[in-house]
């Protein structure tokens, strides 16, 4: 039986022997609201100034939305997954295949994309318990590459190089500019929902348990943390969230080809978003996503054909100059704002 109690600054929820407190302190919402307002006004401004920017914004939101679950997975499992795009492939292909075969719209394919990503993640979840270090890196790196090969081996199903076409679009208002604008908002909402959920998890007791596992797995185990359970939950939930991005890609472009998302180049971009934002910082992923997407856009516009070579070099150079990442620089000096603290009133 759930018992809820409203106190002055919090809602207390009791279920069986468990108790949660949801602290509601509007004075801490100011910065979040300012940033949310900026991001929600941005697509409308772009719509009138330069509609092309909406496309970059969608890319930025989606990069951030891939990097944030990856950050959660990295913290929760204490291991760096080098193949998150595998779940983009799983989610994307399930949505695409179902949409083409049965003519299903995005809302109908979404639960199936979630389900298949979850099942795939559950199948591969023992990796986070059995493999560590280089073995884990190699195994996760291989998964998307093997999947890419599978898409070529079975061209009747996955259509290999050309990919799947004719997927029901995410939105069709009849006006392509309006479509873009609304999809821009959808991507922002996805990014915000991910940010909110992951930030809530990381600030909760489960986030603290994950941080302990990330710091020292053996010690975490010895103080009573069921590390296998936490690692599998973190792995499966983050992979499912990445799978949803595959669904978004499939319906957004109305086509889905493994060759676009499964190779190492795409993974490199996601990892750079994660690192440039600030080594697995959830807010850093947003900073990193926007930084990488806009840098890519500027380089395509001004650098011409040399861009594919210069882009990763610039990003790698930035990693050397800013090892803590853009957001990490800020967080390093003000870590107390991101960990629970107790202040004594004198």
């Amino acid at each position: 039986m759930v018992e809820m109690e409203l106190k002055r600054d919090r809602i207390v929820i009791r279920l069986g022997t468990k108790k949660w407190e949801w602290v509601l302190e509007p004075r801490y919402w100011r910065n979040t609201l300012i940033w949310a307002a900026v991001l929600f006004i941005f697509p409308t401004v772009c719509y009138f100034v330069s509609p092309g920017l909406i496309n970059t914004m969608i890319s930025a939101n989606i990069y951030a939305a891939i990097a944030m679950p990856l950050a959660l997975m990295t913290i929760g499992t204490g291991r760096m997954n080098f193949g998150p795009q595998f779940y983009i492939g799983v989610g994307g292909y399930s949505a695409a295949l179902l949409s083409i075969a049965y003519g299903w719209g995005p809302l109908t394919t979404l639960p199936f994309a979630i389900l298949t990503s979850m099942i795939a993640a559950l199948i591969f979840s023992p990796l986070v318990i059995m493999a560590r270090g280089l073995y884990y890196v190699l195994l996760t790196l291989l998964l998307p590459l093997v999947f890419l090969e599978v898409t070529f081996i079975y061209p009747d199903i996955f259509k290999g190089d050309t990919g799947l076409f004719g997927i029901v679009p995410l939105l069709d208002t009849g006006n392509s500019k309006i479509n873009f604008l609304v999809i821009g908002y959808i991507s922002t909402v996805i990014m915000f929902v991910y940010l909110w959920i992951i930030n809530k998890i990381l600030k909760s007791r489960y986030g603290l348990l994950m941080a302990s596992i990330n710091d020292d797995e053996d010690v975490a185990h010895s103080i009573g943390i069921h590390i296998s359970k936490i690692k599998i939950i973190a792995f499966v939930s983050a992979s499912t969230m990445i799978g949803i991005i595959g669904w978004f890609y499939a319906h957004y472009f109305s086509s889905f080809a493994g060759i676009t998302y499964l190779p190492l180049t795409f993974m490199l971009k996601v990892l750079l978003v994660l690192m440039i934002g600030g080594r697995a910082q959830v807010f850093g992923c947003v900073v990193g996503g926007y930084f990488v997407a806009f840098l890519e856009m500027l380089m395509i516009r001004f650098m011409g054909p040399i861009q594919p070579v210069l882009f990763p070099i610039i990003l790698l150079a930035l990693l050397f100059v800013l090892p803590e990442g853009l957001f990490g620089l800020y967080r390093k000096r003000r870590y107390r704002e991101y960990l629970p603290t107790i202040h004594v009133r004198r």
Binding site: V12, R14, T17, K18, K19, W20, E21, V23, S204, R205, L208, L209, A211, S212, N214, D215, D216, D218, V219, A220, H221, S222, I223, G224, I225, H226, I227, Y335, R336, L339, P340, T341, I342
Partner: protein
């Protein structure tokens, strides 16, 4: 009197090396059991087997009459086993408060304990070990003595019945060592815990331990009161070598 923990014929092999060989002893509620032996005798391996960090090759470990030999470390922690490490192993990216908080929420199951309640609980243990003023400092920035105290607070926050202390005096100056001993005694009295204490500094154990178990080459040498153990010829020989009488 039924023992809190009963270790029967515990053996641990690493390939061909027998690190712990058929060791049996009991730990009784409320006592301080000293555990001594020369370097490489297998003391830490025994603790690792008892806390579940290493699986025992054979033998049986019982706690309150329940067989815990095959239990995972987190299950043993929930049953009331906690430990500190020979070389402190803090969570470097967590503050002192959050390190203890992690123990408080993951140790022995407590009814109706929210995250915020656990935080106040953690401050109590930090205050106890004298680290309350350092609560918001990252563990990696603490001194060696503070890390030892943080480990103690982290272990106490799991509300253990039995606390394994692995060479707490190593690396501490005499003043700090005295404080650490006092702290462990206070913890024993205030929280009603049983202490299993591995130590090289015999003076400390002579004063603090109710009983002592001595091992060498993984096998039990002697067991008894501190006076009985230190006057045991086998124990002296293990520390000083054969033929020590010639030089005595």
């Amino acid at each position: 009197m039924t023992p809190l923990v009963k270790v029967s014929n515990l053996t641990k092999r690493f390939g061909g090396i027998v690190a712990v060989n058929d060791v049996s002893f009991e730990i009784y509620q409320g006592e301080t059991l000293g555990f001594i032996g020369p370097n490489g005798a297998g003391k830490s391996t025994v603790v690792n087997c008892l806390t579940g960090y290493l699986p025992a090759t054979s033998g049986k470990v019982e706690m309150n009459g329940v067989d815990i030999t095959r239990m995972k470390p987190h299950e043993r922690a929930h049953r009331g086993l906690a430990r500190t490490y020979q070389i402190p192993r803090p969570f470097p990216e967590l503050t002192a408060l959050t390190s203890v908080l992690a123990s408080s929420i993951s140790g022995k199951k407590r009814v109706h304990q929210s995250f915020q309640d656990a935080m106040y609980d953690a401050t109590h243990y930090l205050e106890f070990v004298g680290l309350f003023s350092k609560r918001n400092i990252l563990a990696r920035d603490l001194t060696f003595y503070e890390l030892r105290m943080l480990e103690l607070a982290r272990a106490l926050a799991t509300t253990p019945q039995l606390l394994f202390i692995d060479e707490v005096m190593a690396g501490l100056n005499p003043g700090e060592a005295k404080n650490a001993t006092r702290m462990i005694r206070r913890a024993k009295e205030e929280f009603g815990i049983t202490v299993f204490w591995i130590e090289h500094v015999m003076a400390v154990l002579m004063e603090a331990a109710d009983r002592i178990v001595a091992i060498n080459y993984g096998a039990k040498l002697a067991e008894g009161t501190p006076d009985q153990v230190v006057s045991n010829d086998d124990v002296i020989e293990a520390y000083l070598g054969r033929g020590w009488r010639e030089y005595a």
